[in-house]
């Protein structure tokens, strides 16, 4: 057998070459169409294009046969054997999980925690919206998933892409592509999913509640101390949350210190853009046909949606409770922003509030629970990781 035959195996050849057409089956074709669909949605509908376009491209590349792109690096391997997608998957997502942690660093550098510092009650709403994670965890167990998979599916309810990727990459890497895609897709569909739930659980009078137009000013010292104190408290209580919470608050310290502007700007722009390309390509590549085209995939997507809906509902119900207990006017819709789809959820609350009452400006109030949700879902992810 020649070296070429050894390399190509015994599959059919054309003009002396092993062509992808010979390895293409129906499952690959379906995945190629799904990848093309993602790219269509990104370009034509502009649905989360920064995520869906590279995910779609990664999905297509991962499902084209005989490319070698998915070959993971291994000890003793000849030079050039590992493929770029295999390298991204192994070091970025499964083994070293570098990418979601660096995304959190960038998110920290981009996030202004002032609305949360000015109104710390918003922390409670950020916690309430995590209830969806745990109800979906139970649902996943009921449908036959094991505990690590149930944890990974539940975390979709936090509507936090990097936390979902990090948790799933470590606990259930086989379903990571699906959970990550579900998390980002539901974040993109916040405007469709959340308003009916909010309307169902609130009265028009509640949605019209007008809040103080501005929050109190937050000093620079508070903004610098907040990530330091928050990071130390959370990591001391849940050490396994350190890779996410630590990187989130580290990025925020860079931002708020105002003495490393170049580094902060890099984290907010170039770094997060590069990491987004690698991360999204990796997510797309983690969906080869044999892993995705199963009934389980549909169950994961439905359970993720359920988690997201329950999280929104729990946030709104806690918002109603706070509205009843608060001496100041408090709009219960703010609870829906407790899921960490930043800033989409906050914008939905602002839009709905303003539509009911033209004098209502809820955006800054809603940003508090919204950024609290980012912390809450990272804490929930750290808790799940601590179980194993």
């Amino acid at each position: 057998m020649t070296a070429a035959q050894q390399a190509f195996g015994t599959t059919k050849q054309f003009l002396g070459l092993q062509m992808g057409f010979f390895g293409l089956d129906l499952a690959h074709v379906v995945m190629l169409l799904v990848g093309l669909g993602f790219i269509f949605l990104a370009i034509k509908k502009e649905w989360e294009p920064y995520e869906l376009l590279p995910i779609g491209a990664g999905m297509i590349l991962a499902n084209l046969p005989f490319t070698g792109l998915m070959t993971e690096p291994a000890a003793g391997q000849a030079a050039g054997q590992a493929g770029i997608l295999g390298i991204i998957l192994k070091y970025g997502l499964y083994q070293w999980t570098l990418l979601p942690q660096f995304i959190f660093f960038g998110i920290g550098a981009l996030t202004d925690f002032s609305p949360l510092i000015a109104n710390p009650r918003a922390f409670v709403l950020g916690a309430a919206a995590q209830i969806g994670i745990y109800t979906s965890f139970l649902g996943a167990l009921l449908l036959g998933f094991n505990v690590p998979e149930a944890c990974s599916i539940g975390i979709i309810g936090g509507a936090d892409g990097p936390t979902t990727i990090y948790t799933t990459g470590l606990l259930a890497p086989d379903i990571m592509g699906i959970t990550a895609t579900a998390a980002y897709s539901y974040m993109a569909m916040v405007a469709i999913i959340q308003p009916p739930i909010i309307r169902l659980l609130t009265t028009r009078a509640e949605r019209r509640i007008q809040m103080k137009p501005v929050l109190r000013p937050v000093s620079r010292l508070e903004r610098v101390l907040f990530p330091l104190v928050g990071m130390i408290i959370i990591i001391l209580l849940i050490p396994k949350s350190a890779p996410l919470v630590g990187m989130l608050f580290l990025g925020n310290i860079f931002r708020e210190s105002a003495v490393v502007e170049r580094l902060s700007k890099t984290a907010q722009n170039e770094l997060i853009n590069i990491i987004t390309i690698l991360l999204m390509l990796g997510i797309g590549a983690s969906m080869p046909a044999e892993k995705v085209l199963q009934v389980r995939t549909l169950m994961v997507l439905l359970l993720g949606l359920f988690a997201f809906c329950v999280g929104t509902a729990a946030g709104v119900l806690f918002g109603k409770l706070m509205s009843k207990l608060s001496k100041q006017p408090f709009n219960p819709m703010l609870g829906a922003a407790g899921v960490s789809a930043v800033p989409m959820s906050a914008r939905i609350v602002q839009h709905m509030g303003h539509r009911e009452n033209k004098k209502n400006y809820l955006l800054m109030h809603a940003m508090g629970p919204n950024v609290a949700g980012v912390i809450g879902s990272a804490v929930a992810g750290g808790f799940f990781l601590g179980l194993f």
Partner: protein, 52 residues
């Protein structure tokens, strides 16, 4: 379904929700206290600077 350890599952849920709420409430209290202390210190500093 018989393979699921439901007491353990409910324990995970209860501990998880308890922990998330516990930590978030703790952070809320610490953030509120920190804000009060800093604002009081800044107000005092401002008051001391005024007579000069």
């Amino acid at each position: 379904m018989g393979g699921i350890d439901w007491p353990q599952a409910w324990s995970i849920v209860a501990r998880g929700i308890g922990l998330v709420f516990g930590i978030m409430i703790l952070l809320a209290v610490v953030t509120d206290l920190m804000g009060r202390v800093i604002r009081r210190a800044e107000a005092r500093k401002k008051a001391e600077e005024k007579p000069q």
